[in-house]
């Protein structure tokens, strides 16, 4: 081998001829293994998408979006009620979470900067960010479903809001911290009170990033199933406008139908799964493009 005699091939690059075989082998293994790991990740994502397309596309009929979920063992039907229920609960969840998350993030980045309290809240918010969502379901069950005596869309929306809030707090704070301090100082030098500086200067400079946080939160809660199991439950008919009782929603519908013995239900679950995954992946891609745009500026 070349490596045993370093002078054998003077014209070749050093790495090929002078590296001891054991070192070269270790290097090759690393290169191969890490390339394989990355390929594996891509293959899994591809396989998931392929599965959803193969199983889900055949159920994509106009009826899917207009008819409510059918009873067990029947034919036809759609998932319109579940889509609508999911939209309503996700929307209410985001409407609750956005102002709270925005203000809390503002506190961490502006008023609380450097204070002990802000440090603690920032730390606990990061923990809440990765807390198991099923625990949030248990919390909302105890706080809302038990006292109200019924499952409700409100409880579902609150559970989703609790999951969305830490995401918004975190991105808002990160984005506000990127705004250079001289901009705030310039505002203050003009005599603007602090709230005005925050609203008209920092928020404005960070607006794209804050919106990204909201989109990320939306993507996060749109597919959440565990916290809805004990709060909104599910229902096979249209829901009441007061959102009381079980409210149909996509994730729990998918869970129940996919594990049911009825082919029609399974097919509806696949179509729902395709819709929800495509929606969430689109939201995530959009959010990342907005972030990139923001950083480039």
């Amino acid at each position: 081998m070349d490596a045993s005699n370093p002078l054998a091939a003077p014209g070749r690059p050093l790495t090929a001829s002078r590296v001891r075989p054991s070192r070269r082998v270790a290097d090759r293994i690393l290169v191969l293994a890490s390339t394989a790991a990355t390929a594996l990740g891509i293959v899994v994502l591809g396989s998931i998408l392929l599965m959803l397309i193969v199983e889900g596309v055949k159920g994509l009929t106009p009826e899917l979006l207009t008819a409510p979920t059918p009873g067990p063992g029947s034919v036809g039907g759609g998932i319109a009620n579940a889509i609508l229920g999911s939209l309503v609960m996700t929307f209410i969840g985001i409407v609750i979470a956005t102002p709270i998350g925005l203000m809390a993030g503002t506190f961490l980045a502006e008023y609380g900067r450097g204070s002990k309290l802000a440090d603690i809240i920032r730390f606990l918010n990061d923990i809440l960010l990765s807390a198991p969502s099923i625990l949030i379901g248990l919390f909302v069950y105890t706080m809302m479903v038990r006292p109200m005596g019924t499952y409700s869309g409100w409880a579902g929306a609150v559970a989703l809001a609790i999951i969305a809030t830490p995401v918004i707090v975190r991105t808002t704070e990160d984005m506000l911290s990127l705004v250079p301090s001289p901009m705030r100082e310039a505002g203050a030098a003009l005599g603007a009170p602090r709230s005005l500086v925050i609203r008209t200067i920092t928020w404005r400079a960070a607006s794209a990033g804050v919106v990204t946080g909201i989109i990320l939160a939306l993507a996060r809660i749109a597919g959440e199933t565990a916290p809805l199991l004990f709060t909104a439950l599910n229902n096979n008919s249209w829901f009441n406008a007061n959102l009381l009782g079980g409210v149909p929603n996509l994730p729990v519908m998918i869970y129940q139908f996919a594990l049911s013995p009825y082919p029609n239900w399974q097919s509806l679950a696949w179509s729902g799964a395709l819709l929800i995954t495509v929606t969430i992946l689109t939201l995530s891609v959009v959010a990342r493009l907005v972030i990139k745009d923001q950083r480039a500026r």
Partner: protein, 324 residues
């Protein structure tokens, strides 16, 4: 929401913000920010408080025996946490064993080996794995992965190890259906990979290029640069990233519920069905009442303690990891 963003829109369009808010409005704004931040504290305390409150009768009835008992009998109202706790820890541990090397490989690939043009699309693809909802992983695991796993892993391995000591127990599938603790571990591994990989990649990217370049300059191979320069520099953050992945694996519910088989008994084989705390709660909560409901809450309490302990350590190690 509209009330909060309107001032931005107004000030952008016209000079509406020229009149400064009064001192009272300024205070009000600061108060709202303060209150919102405190709400985060309150919610976390509320979660712990409500779960302990719900679990009080189970703790009163079983005491510490709840932790060590492995019975889960609804008829006789005897409940113990041991099988679910062991299932949770076992599935999460398997997820780490499988997922961590893959995550590190991806991070090394993205920071060291990937050609420039492919870095962003590949990184994005890996990160998209993190946004796939867990219920979709559950369906993929049950309908795509489990049949393949049963046919190509469980059956051959079971035949191979049958009758052998120790491995013949741990790796023997009585009913090779594809679902079980190891399947759950593999699915969890796939779910934590994007998190651990993207945090590790960020940490590797933060290491000054000079260090890397000087190592390459004295003739190190990529493996030696990774092993002796990058890993020692980022080791604490990498452990933190792994702990974050562990936190996620411990509390993951839907995907595990699909593939773990939901058996209430303990089994020595990782091919056999089991259950985790989260899957037990998801399966039984809606039909539970009385002492069973309280016992499920007590399980939730244990999960809270385990995950928060892990997450606190993780967050202390990785001060600022990214959101998604």
């Amino acid at each position: 929401m509209t009330a909060l963003t309107q001032p931005i829109a107004l000030s952008r369009d016209s000079g509406a913000a020229r009149t400064a808010p009064s001192k009272g409005a300024d205070r009000l704004f600061q108060g709202a920010a303060y209150a919102s931040a405190l709400l985060v504290l309150l919610v976390l305390a509320g979660i712990l408080g409500s779960i302990i409150y719900g679990a009080r009768s189970a703790f009163a009835e079983f005491g510490f025996g709840f932790l060590t008992s492995s019975s889960w009998n609804i008829a006789t109202e005897q409940f113990g946490a041991l099988p679910a706790v062991i299932g949770t820890v076992a599935a999460a541990f398997l997820a780490l064993i499988i997922g961590v090397p893959i995550s590190l490989g991806i991070a090394v690939y993205l920071t060291q080996l990937c050609p420039g043009w492919a870095r962003k699309p590949v990184a994005m693809t890996i990160e998209l794995l993190a946004s796939v909802p867990s219920i979709i992983y559950g369906m993929w695991g049950l309908f795509v992965f489990a049949p393949l796993f049963a046919r190509f892993v469980q059956v051959p391995v079971s035949n191979l190890v049958e009758g052998l000591p120790i491995v013949g127990t741990i790796l023997y599938a009585r009913i090779p259906s594809g679902v079980g603790v190891l399947t759950a571990g593999i699915i969890l591994a796939i779910m934590i990979v994007p998190f651990v990989a993207s945090i590790t990649r960020d940490m590797l990217d933060q290491i000054p290029t000079v260090l890397r370049e000087s190592a390459y300059g004295i003739g190190c191979t990529t493996w030696e640069v990774v092993r002796h320069v990058l890993v020692p520099q980022a080791s604490i953050s990498i452990i933190g990233a792994i702990m974050l992945g562990l936190g996620r694996a411990l509390g993951e519910t839907m995907a595990v519920t699909f593939v773990i088989g939901n058996a209430n008994r303990l089994s020595a084989s990782i091919f056999d069905p089991g259950s985790t705390i989260a899957s037990r709660i998801a399966n039984e909560f809606n039909e539970a009442d009385g002492l069973q409901l309280s016992s499920l809450m007590a399980l939730g309490c244990l999960l809270f303690i385990i995950t928060f302990f892990v997450l606190i350590i993780a967050r202390l190690l990785v001060r600022r990891a990214k959101v998604a």
